[in-house]
Amino acid sequence: MTLTEMLMPVAPELTLLIGVCAVFLLGVSKRPAVRSAIAPLTLVILLGSLVATAMCSDLDASGLVGLAFDELTGYVRWITLAMGVLLLLVNWRVPTDGEQGEYFGLMLCSIAGVLLTASANDLVVLFFAIELVSVPTYVMVALSRTDQRASEAALKYFFLGALSAAVMVYGFSFLYGLAGTTTMMASGGDSLQATFAEVGAINAFAVVGLLLAMAGLSFKVAVVPFHAYAPDVYEGAASPLTGLLGFLPKLAGFVALIRLLTVCHWALPDSLMWMMWIMAVATMIFGNVLALLQTNVKRILAYSSISHSGYMMIGLLVGPVLGEGPMHDGVAAVLFYIVIYGLMNLGAFAVLSGLNVRGEAAETLDDLAGLSRRAPMMAIAMAVCAFSLMGFPPTAGFLGKVYIFSSAFSLSDAHPFHGPLVTLAVIGVINSAIGAVYYLRIAGYCFLREPGDGLKRVGGVMPGLGLAVCSLAMIVLFIRPTDLVNRAKSATASVGSSVVTRVAVAGAETPPSDTRPQ
């Protein structure tokens, strides 16, 4: 195997990393013309990485220990890079002159981190990949604005992030102690997955390790009780960056959680299932009721981001249910939902970033008052995103919610966690009804209020383009979701196959859909 062959599977990541170096180097140039070329260069790099993803469909990872490539990797690569392009467009004008190099280079690092998270097959690599997603975002928050709140947000985000990283890696150390290897999955020989097949997940090391690791990852996806940073960080960071914070770390966290659960064959002990159940309920309720009290749109969206993590937890708890009809798969629902969530969240923040009120960035509800009169297209985009976040047809958010909830409702009665999961979905439905109130308030302020003074549209072509794509995608994905759903489903197939293994190992007589014996 030549070096080229060996490195082919990581071509997208390598493209990004070479780009990172180039962007960092250009960033210190003294010539403004060179610095202004950084954002377009970043766009080219992202597109190049997309091309590389398309080219290297043959994913033979035998040359790279610690990485593994399956359909899930491919899916995450596609959606991350495609969203990355949109994130770049929306963030086009965020860094001040002289900081573009750092800002966009760090953004590329974070994107590369998500790609690596999706292909990590080793606890060390997984840990590093997740840190590679987070560490650049800490810096970006501090760089995004000179507002005092940006520094405060960076402080809180970074310190709590370090705390959660310590907790997560402590959990990883127990998992390593259980298996004696950091390899997560291997077709033969030692791996975490093989160990779980052998000893099950009820072992004390396994429970403690999984619990701590999941707690650390819960921070990335902002699940109660590890959510507390989210509102402040979202409020403090510049709006376009907030769209990124709502997508990349969350995606990385969920992908890592899916990998962890795959490793233990989706056969968590009941105690951990109940723990996740409680966390999901608390997350939905906490996010929604606190969002009701906010007057700052960024905080509303931050709390709503928490509650959306709660909805996605439902799908995660349902797990991959294979061969039971088209809309019954919880993990595919999560993978589908997170794309839609990323788009609608970014769209909402892009609207905020495209508006100025008396020279300040718009962020409160009052700032949005009468937007439909000042900038009708922005108001429509905001309404589309708000309705999508609400889960209201005809927007893709509706389909995402339907997919998540129907995955829980359609569990077979024989499923050991059937009752609690259906209850959870009902709680989710009630919560999304509560959520409608504050999303409607956002839309209502845009359309049903007299405009205040000094509301001005700012930004430029690129952020506007990103916003247009986000809100159009909400409609298009509603009308034609089939392709994305199918991709999400096939991505799930690769993590779902371990379920069958578990049943074969346990020798249980239950059908493959029932992933949890006992």
Partner: protein
Amino acid sequence: MTDWLAILIYGTFVVGGLGLYFLLPTTGRSTKMAGALFGMAALAGAMVLCGGRFLAASGVNAVFFLFASVAIVAAVLMVTSEKPVYSALYFVLVVLAVTPLLLLQQAEFLAIALVIVYAGAILVTYVFVIMLSQQSGPSIYDRRSRSPLLAVFAGFVSMAVVAGQMAVLPQDWAIRGTLVSANSAVAVTGVGVGNIELVGRVMMGKYVVALEIAGLLLLVAMIGAIAVSRKRVPADGPGLEGLPLGQSGREAPPF
């Protein structure tokens, strides 16, 4: 059997937690004496625990007790010290006390790296920053801790549960075979190498991807730290006169 073991473990954590609580800085009446007493009791409990239950059979040497005690005491002093410089120096002591324990585990290279990187490089930077930012003695926020009872409760309950879980399920200990010498892996690889070589081989083999990402992370941290610390921001806090970092706070950072 397991009952008294559990009581001993949880008791150690409770007593230790109380000790730490009394030792944490307050502006009120000093409770350091009580804290020290409780801490000593907890340390004795831990020794009984380790010596009585787990180590009797295998006969651990005094080195472990000595350096583990030093590490714990130094750690406690680190979080309770009112002077940040002392905290940093106590942390150096923790690292130095942990190093022999790593040597006991035949992790020579890690031990050296820990001393050089941690105690040497990182901690010096800390001390440097502390020196820069706090020249006028301990400030009020260093002399009062924030909700110490809650902190002790939360921290010690979580870790007591983890530790207790490790102890009450002794049959799970050696799940994947018995304890063997780390360097017996030499036998597996068939090459007569020492710890450093072995670490090097495995790191450059199995963990080469992680190594690459580590390099990238360090690059990110370097660029990030520079970008953050040179960011031009308005100074908006009180009492900026006589700051070590330039008069207005708008100047470039010192390094």
